[in-house]
Symmetry: C2
Subunit: 211 residues, 2 copies
DNA sequence: CCAAAACTGTACTCATGGTACGGTTTCTCC
DNA sequence: GGAGAAACCGTACCATGAGTACAGTTTTGG
């Protein structure tokens, strides 16, 4: 309370963050069930006791991982779609700009996109408790709602030329990103993710742009 | 060779199949790393010795699982896209019919789509050997090539109204299906998968149909 | 009926996840 | 600079699961 800085961040907080980061990478590479606490703490450079000081069990680790992932993603979306709105008053143009930014962001990852934690968890649902599954579900709903709002704004100005359901179009963006991440990883070709986002962008243009 | 039936199928073959089916369901629900041989054999009703009679180790099980999954999927695609071609001479109409069939097939799963094994494996790549990763990569490439061929046939008759890359459009179908499966599972709403396939269908129409 | 196929049973090793708990260092604040 | 909390270490322990070895038993197909 007395410090001026926003994030006092005791030493413990830093360790927590390090654990979460290492764990997330491991989970995305081998799955939660196959990610051992031992390997995480080995890489983090602390002991088992130290780990359990921060997280009461593996499920607590998972919960915090998801919270962290969702928060990071939310911030990224805020920035990307906020930036689009700054750069154009037309909602369609703003969205197209944001999609381009999104594609570039995806392409900028040096070793390709590390993966979507929500997708990873979805394929291991039985390992997680109700709270975690609710967390992932809510975050997906939030993202879809965000896109839906944007699309509403566009449709108000540019009536779509075909009767498409905007809820489905909003869903589609998440679907394409998740699907493209999988394809990129499977084929070991990071470029596909960017291309899919750009194709989605073309289709948005096709749907709304006056011909 | 002397039998008339296509599949003589000794008793061992049936057991193998049962193991693979149980294992696949378990892997899609909790991941490969968290799927124990013990639980699989418990559900299959045989002993550990019995299991290792059929598969030399867990990786052999994974290999056969993937082979089985890919073969099943190939057959399904053969049927769906073959049927489309039977029902219309126009390649675009044929594809639209097939996509409708695909959407219906997806919607017909009683408890929603169980999941894509390739996607599941992609998020646990470190657990699998080179051979398995090559298998999944090749199957994805094959599916993409199949769709690309269809799109080529369409484009030859109906020039696309926007300059879209047909390779990307072909990729998109797999991406959308994989992504929609994840969303359906995460939100526990099986309907989304069907809707996404139908939306893709609308977009194909929008891309190629003369206005 | 016989040989191969398809298992069962037991008994073990080794590695690892996860728990429990008491002790020790390091930080922080008064 | 001392007290107490936060952050961490050490060790001992149990349960589970992968995988091996191998001898025995049932089942099946020709």
């Amino acid at each position: 309370m007395s410090t001026v800085l926003e994030t006092p961040k005791g030493k413990g907080e830093a360790t927590r963050e390090r654990i979460l980061e290492i764990a997330e990478a491991a989970v995305l590479a081998k799955g939660f069930g196959a990610t051992s606490i031992e390997e995480v703490i080995a890489e983090a450079g602390l002991t088992k006791s130290g780990f359990f000081y921060h997280f009461k069990d593996k499920n607590a680790l998972a919960r915090e991982m998801v919270r962290r992932y969702v928060a990071t993603n939310d911030r990224l979306f805020d920035e990307i779609f906020g930036r689009g709105q700054q750069l154009s008053d037309d909602p369609l143009q703003a969205f197209l700009i944001s999609l381009k930014l999104l594609a570039e962001t995806m392409a900028d990852l040096p070793n390709g996109h590390p993966g979507c934690l929500i997708a990873s968890i979805c394929y291991q649902e039985r390992l997680f408790d109700r709270e975690i599954r609710d967390l992932t579900a809510q975050s997906v709903r939030d993202w879809n709602a965000r896109f839906r709002t944007i699309l509403d704004g566009i449709a108000a100005v540019h009536p779509p030329r075909e009767p498409v359901d905007l809820d489905d179009v909003a869903d589609m963006l998440s679907c394409i990103v998740d699907g493209a991440i999988i394809m990129s990883k499977t084929l070991n070709d990071p470029g596909r993710l960017e291309r899919q986002v750009m194709l989605f962008r073309s289709l948005v243009k096709l749907m709304f742009a006056p011909n």
